[in-house]
Symmetry: D2
């Protein structure tokens, strides 16, 4: 299922996120993607994390195209959602304004998986769990597709 | 109880820990203190964290005296331990070598508290718990002082 | 000089800032204080950092009073500013709402120092520099007090 | 040029690197890859960063296969190096021991680019620069291939 959704999340780069090269460290930019995703979940009324369930990252790929400096505002947009039985994939693109033009800072793709804590699999273990119809509907406006 | 213990932990500053000023960010240096403490716990055979118990920070004070750069090795020494019923305080000092001399990077004091998960106090809540004689003995070589 | 200023900065705790105890890590909360300070600088039109100057931390002390969880909004207020020749001190307090009540998450004091890059003192070195009247006026509404 | 090199870097997961799901956060694991790379540079006597040059990340892709907990030791191996005019690509794999077996925690590929600060391109800007024969030789044992 490929719902037509775009979610945009904006915030400034913090000083703690920069590195000695003077730019936002690549892991701080990676964290922005997760933040944008959580912001999307919150906006849809779905908790992205609970004591016994969550959405760990399965795959992440990113291309860094322009540096981003302390204090600059970045807009991370999530698009091209693809929803499977227990997992969700999407594309992301982060942009900033520079001299009146929009510059792509980084872009890539993320896959996350819905999991539930599974004590039988060991301490701290989680196992994949199908995304419920309620969550599927709330996040993506999809109905009756848990059979996918 | 004031056991006479010194624990030293050494490691390099990672690039991700530097900031745009070119030096280790103050929060990365703060994290080094916790790492040194955990290294001490591991050395004594005591787990610093478990699903239902841990040692959160209660108080932390630090003075930053010299910058520390990417790739430099810092030695964090923990001393002046003071052990109370549920809490432990200690002093810390981080040093680096510069042109053949030892330079203090930062120093201060930390207080941590032994806690146990307490579902009755709410989701995610922990409550203070006296440090057991076993842990007291393993960490500090103290005996029979859980009455303190 | 003790200008009567209060600056409040609010934001949610990110997932990347939590730790295995399920709460915001103490270094993430420390970073919030710096963010609040930078937010104050931006609000006053003063750059908190430039290639050749900045405001490193000199001293930081904090007491952690209540845990803070993923997704919770924290309001960090900066008060009790005290302005000296090259340094600024202030108190901070972070609060969150819980069951309709305001809870203090942490509080403490920070001292920062205005510095300028000083190549003569070595690669990457900075030296203290008096806070200019312009910055003093913009940040604190103070006039003619660079003699202090 | 595809030098036959493998570099292995090991360290424990710090508490500050875990998240509320109880496992190392995906950005902390990403940072481990950069650390392993810098460890490789240091081992070869090549500075991974200087005030006027560095090796920013261009592309990064990773698959997360098993969780990693606080205190666990991870071994990150870098292999399949591919050296171009200004850039280097490599594969990475992180493993841990679990119940006597070796488990893959994550694996993927990284591309970095050698750059030099370029004030003409703007404040804080860097531009790609060919990898020198000296660095090419020191890192990869390659000779005379800067024409590539």
């Amino acid at each position: 299922m490929k719902p037509s959704i775009e979610h945009i999340y904006r915030r400034r780069i913090h000083f703690s996120e920069t590195d000695a090269a003077g730019v936002a460290h690549f892991t701080a930019l990676a964290s922005l993607v997760e933040e944008a995703e959580h912001d999307f979940f919150f906006a849809k009324g779905v908790a992205p994390f609970a004591a016994d369930s969550g959405w760990p990252r399965v795959a992440f790929s990113v291309q860094y195209e322009a540096p981003c400096f302390f204090g600059e505002e970045v807009a991370v947009s999530l698009t091209d959602f693809s929803v499977a039985k227990s997992s969700v994939s999407y594309s992301f693109r982060a942009e900033k304004e520079k001299a009146g033009e929009t510059v792509t800072v980084f872009r890539g793709a993320m896959t996350i998986c819905h999991v539930r804590r599974n004590p039988e699999a060991g301490a701290g273990a989680f196992s994949p769990e199908p995304i419920s119809d309620v969550v599927r509907g709330a996040l993506f406006g999809l109905r009756g597709c848990s059979q996918i």
